[in-house]
Every structure is written in structure tokens, then in C-alpha cells.
């Protein structure tokens, strides 16, 4: 190995496998068509090929590879949710993330930082205790700490009484992490394509073909494609695509904005979230302060940016981290979040036979990319809803069996 590396380094050519094995033409028929080449669609394709031996798959993408919310998120990965169903599900994702670089043979830069959910009120402390108990019961490392302990772990934070909303304590979740979002999607695409999966960009699904109550294919801007099974994973466009399949979803599309500062030397190790102040922050490997808050106050299909967002974000941020007053904003953007009423996703079977849904990922779906890909693949391959994602079926809205995660998901994504 060292010699091979040396030889490679000294040679004039640097031969390397092409990352992605693109195929220019669409076939007429696939076993599975997946709509949307974000992290979720690509991870499902990878697991269908790897775990279930189904490789005759096309992933259709109207834009470019993983250019949707996968490219726009702030990459927080954690398992400190509120409901037992949610904690068990996200816990499996954190476990998959830990070995993902090896699994996909690409550096996803998974970096465990420790995750604070700050509490500024008694009510927030109560929710923190509740979450910590549910987490510990299910083997997830979370604990409630007081403000002195917050200060000890994160000395740059302003933990004095001088603030408008002094910090009483926090839910501390040491495994909380960030990762390189693009690498996650590219890794899944690369490994899926290596196994024969086709990914077609600039290919928009315009219609779902239905015969005798079952999905039999899709119509795209590049023609008709027949499929044994069809799965949608289109985030902000979920309602639009589901409508083509005759489904109406419990989803509102609402923008989520974020921004980064100019890069600086490492100064903030942890991921810090405040549900009461509606802000969160972490420092990327590049040194940029990555910041955001809750979704916009109303629904929209536009990635425009607002001054209101930045004003309220910065006001609170300056109190938490006064040194931020020295920094300038470098970039800002938004993504279309597919929000459900219970802040939990929608996964699995639908009333339309052979049609599978992966939606309702709102502001929290990046962390679920590995587990969702794995379990959706299992669902599509077997035609049955795997136990882990049973609570997240679309049918929960007609049985009034919601999985209320708002207390753990509305600001900390």
C-alpha cells in the first residue's frame, strides 16, 4: 500500500475511477423508479441494490444531483428526540452515520461535537428533563446540566445573568454531530451507480401512470418510463408529486432560511440550539459559523431571503456569543421544508398500490438519510412497512395516531 501510494504520487498521470458512472439513455422499464435524487432517494437506491439485490433502478432528478434540501441543510445529526418512536428511529441513523465514511468509501467528515438545547425558562427545563429520560431509557446519551456546566463545556457562551433571557441549563447530548452533506449524497450515488443503479438528472416527473389502482410508471420530460414500483422522495415538492398519484398529504411547504459567517479559526466546538430564542449555531470544518432558526412564519414556494429572519437571528446570537459582533455574514440561502403537523416524517406504503412515499422531512431529514434509505428500501423490496417506521406511516393521520415531535424538532434541526 505505501509503495502503491508512492508510485501513484510520483507518476505523471493520476488515474482514478470516475466518481459517477452516468448512463446517457433512459431504459423503457425499470424494477423501481425513484423520484428525486436527494440524499434520501439515493440512499434508498443504494440499499435496494446492496441489501436486496434490486439493481434495475432509475433515480430521476429534475435538477442536478442532490441540489435540493440535501445541499441546503445545516447538517446537524442527533438522536435526542422526544417520543420513543422518534428516538429509536434517529438512534439507528446516528449509528449508521458513525461508520458511513467506511461504508461509502468517501469522507463524509462526520464530526461529533456535543449538542446543547439551551433552556431559558422552567418550561424548557421540564422538556429537557423529559427528553433526557426518554433518551436514556432507549440508550441514547443525553443529560440535563445546569448553567455552570454549560459554561465549563462551552466557555465562549455568555452564561451570565446579564442577558435578556439568561440560560438556566441545557439538555446536553454528547453524540450530536455535523457532517459534510454533499459527500453523504455523492457517496450514496457513487456506490449505488457502481452496483448498476442509474441516476438521471434534468429528468422531471410530470405524471404518475396508474392502471387498475396501481402505479405502473411515470411520464417525464424525456418520455414514459414503466416501473414495477415507484417511490417519491422530493422534500419541498412532496404535495405536488403526491397529487400526481392522487394523494393529498398532511404537508405544508414552508421556507427554512440559514446563513454562514465569514470563516474564522476554531472557536466553537459544540452545536448550540435555543428553542426559546429560535436560533442555532455550529462552526463548520471550514471555520464558518453556520446559523439558522425556525421556519418562516408562513408557507411559500420561494427561496427568497428576509431581513426579519436575519434581524431576529442576530439579535439573539449576539447575546449568546457577543464575539459574533465582529463577524460578517458571508452567504445566506433557503430551502423548501415539507412540514407535517406533528413534526415527524411520513414513510412507507400509500393507498396507491406499488407507490411508496418518503416525505414530511421538514427541517430534520438530513440526519435520517441513512436510516430512511435503509428502511424505505426494505419497505419497497418487501412491500411491507418495517417495524421501525410503522409509527410514521401516512395512515397515522386517519387513525389520529400522531407522533408529536414539535418539542424536539421545531428549532433544533
Amino acid at each position: 500500500m505505501p509503495f502503491a501510494l508512492l508510485k501513484y504520487g510520483l507518476s505523471r498521470e493520476h488515474p482514478d475511477d470516475p466518481h459517477f458512472r452516468w448512463k446517457p439513455d433512459l431504459k423503457k422499464t425499470y424494477d423501481v423508479v425513484i423520484i428525486g435524487a436527494g440524499g434520501h432517494g439515493l440512499a434508498a437506491a443504494y440499499h435496494l441494490a446492496k441489501d436486496h439485490g434490486i439493481t434495475n433502478i432509475a433515480v430521476l432528478e429534475k435538477g442536478w444531483l442532490a441540489g435540493g434540501n440535501t445541499a441546503r441543510n445545516t447538517t446537524i445529526v442527533r438522536a435526542n428526540y422526544l417520543t420513543p418512536e422518534g428516538v429509536a428511529f434517529y438512534k439507528e441513523s446516528v449509528e449508521l452515520f458513525r461508520t458511513l465514511s467506511n461504508e461509502l468509501d468517501i469522507n463524509v467528515m462526520y464530526s461529533e461535537r456535543g449538542h446543547f438545547t439551551l433552556a431559558h425558562t422552567d418550561a424548557a427545563m421540564r422538556t429537557a428533563r423529559w427528553r433526557a429520560e426518554v433518551n436514556k431509557h432507549l440508550g441514547v446519551n443525553s443529560e440535563v446540566i445546569d448553567s455552570a456546566e454549560v459554561k465549563r463545556i462551552c466557555p465562549t457562551m455568555n452564561v451570565t445573568d446579564e442577558a435578556r433571557y439568561p440560560i438556566l441549563g441545557a439538555l446536553y447530548h454528547p453524540p450530536g454531530a455535523i457532517a459534510r452533506h454533499d459527500a453523504v449524497a455523492w457517496g450514496y450515488a457513487k456506490e449505488a451507480m457502481k452496483r448498476g443503479v442509474e441516476v438521471h438528472t434534468q429528468t422531471e416527473v410530470k405524471k404518475i401512470l396508474i392502471e387498475n389502482g396501481r402505479a405502473i410508471g411515470v411520464e417525464t420530460n424525456r418520455g414514459i418510463i414503466h416501473a414495477g414500483k415507484v417511490m417519491q422522495a422530493v422534500a419541498g415538492s412532496s404535495s405536488h408529486v403526491a397529487r400526481m398519484a392522487g394523494l393529498k398529504l398532511p404537508i405544508k411547504t414552508i421556507p427554512l432560511q440559514a446563513c454562514v459567517s465569514e470563516p474564522v479559526k476554531p472557536i466553537l466546538d459544540q452545536i448550540v440550539v435555543s428553542g426559546s430564542l429560535h436560533v442555532y449555531i455550529s462552526q463548520s470544518a471550514r471555520g464558518e459559523m453556520v446559523m439558522g432558526g425556525a421556519t418562516d412564519p408562513y408557507g411559500l414556494y420561494s427561496s427568497r431571503s428576509t431581513l426579519d429572519f436575519k434581524e431576529s437571528l442576530m439579535g439573539h446570537m449576539l447575546e449568546l456569543f457577543p464575539f459574533m459582533g465582529e463577524l460578517r455574514i458571508l452567504r445566506q440561502w433557503a430551502g423548501m421544508a415539507d412540514m407535517t403537523p406533528d413534526f415527524s416524517p411520513v414513510m412507507g406504503l400509500t393507498p396507491l398500490e406499488n407507490y411508496y412515499i418518503d416525505a414530511g422531512w421538514g427541517t430534520w431529514g438530513f440526519k435520517a438519510t441513512p436510516v430512511c434509505g435503509k428502511r424505505m428500501a426494505e419497505c419497497v423490496a418487501t412491500g411491507r412497512q418495517p417495524d421501525l417506521i410503522k409509527p410514521f406511516a401516512l395512515s397515522r393521520f386517519s387513525t389520529f395516531d400522531l407522533v408529536g415531535e414539535k418539542g424536539a424538532a421545531s428549532v433544533g434541526h
Partner: protein
Amino acid sequence: MKIVNCPLNGPRNISEFVWGGEVKPMPDPAKATDREWTEYLFLEENLAGDITEWWLHAPTNYWFIARRNTITDQFLETMTYDAFLARQPLASAVIPSGEAEPAAKPVTGGGDTGATSA
């Protein structure tokens, strides 16, 4: 900063308003089936384009109807609920519930619609 034309209070900063969501016909609580409740409570058209919604002016706790474009982020029109009901032909076109039942009983209370456009 965005300005919303409240039918009761006139033009105000959007930060004073709360989004109420799509206008949907409410089922009759005495007779509604579970399916109808699911539809009413959870299912959304979530359209890209011109839509009709409830909005609340929070300081005065005043609910009204707004037409809004969800692609351009513009308020097209705001009106009182009575004014909205008086315009049923238009209203039924923007309530794509698919159900046969009328959106709501046509009531024309005070006559003055108070309709304003933003």
C-alpha cells in the same frame, strides 16, 4: 419589511399577523366521519400559485381572508370573511376540496365588504 392590508386596521407590518392556513369547509361536528375530520384537520392542498387563506391580526385578534401568491410572495388581496362569502363563485373555485358540499352558507351581514387590496 412586508405590509399587509388588514380589512379592520389598514396597512400594518407583517410581523403583527399570524398565518392561519388554507380556507377549508368545516365538517358538521355532529355528523362528520373520521375521514372528514382527517381531511379538515390535516390534509392540505399546499398549492404553488394563487391561494386563499385565513390570516389573523394578532394585536386585535381579528381574523380575515387573504389571497396570496405562494411563488412570488405577494399579497394579492385581503377581505373580510363576509366579503369572501359574498363572492362564492370565485370562492368555490379556490376551494378545491373535491367535495360536493358548499364551502359555507352565503351570509351577507353588514353589506359593507371592507375589501381592500394590498
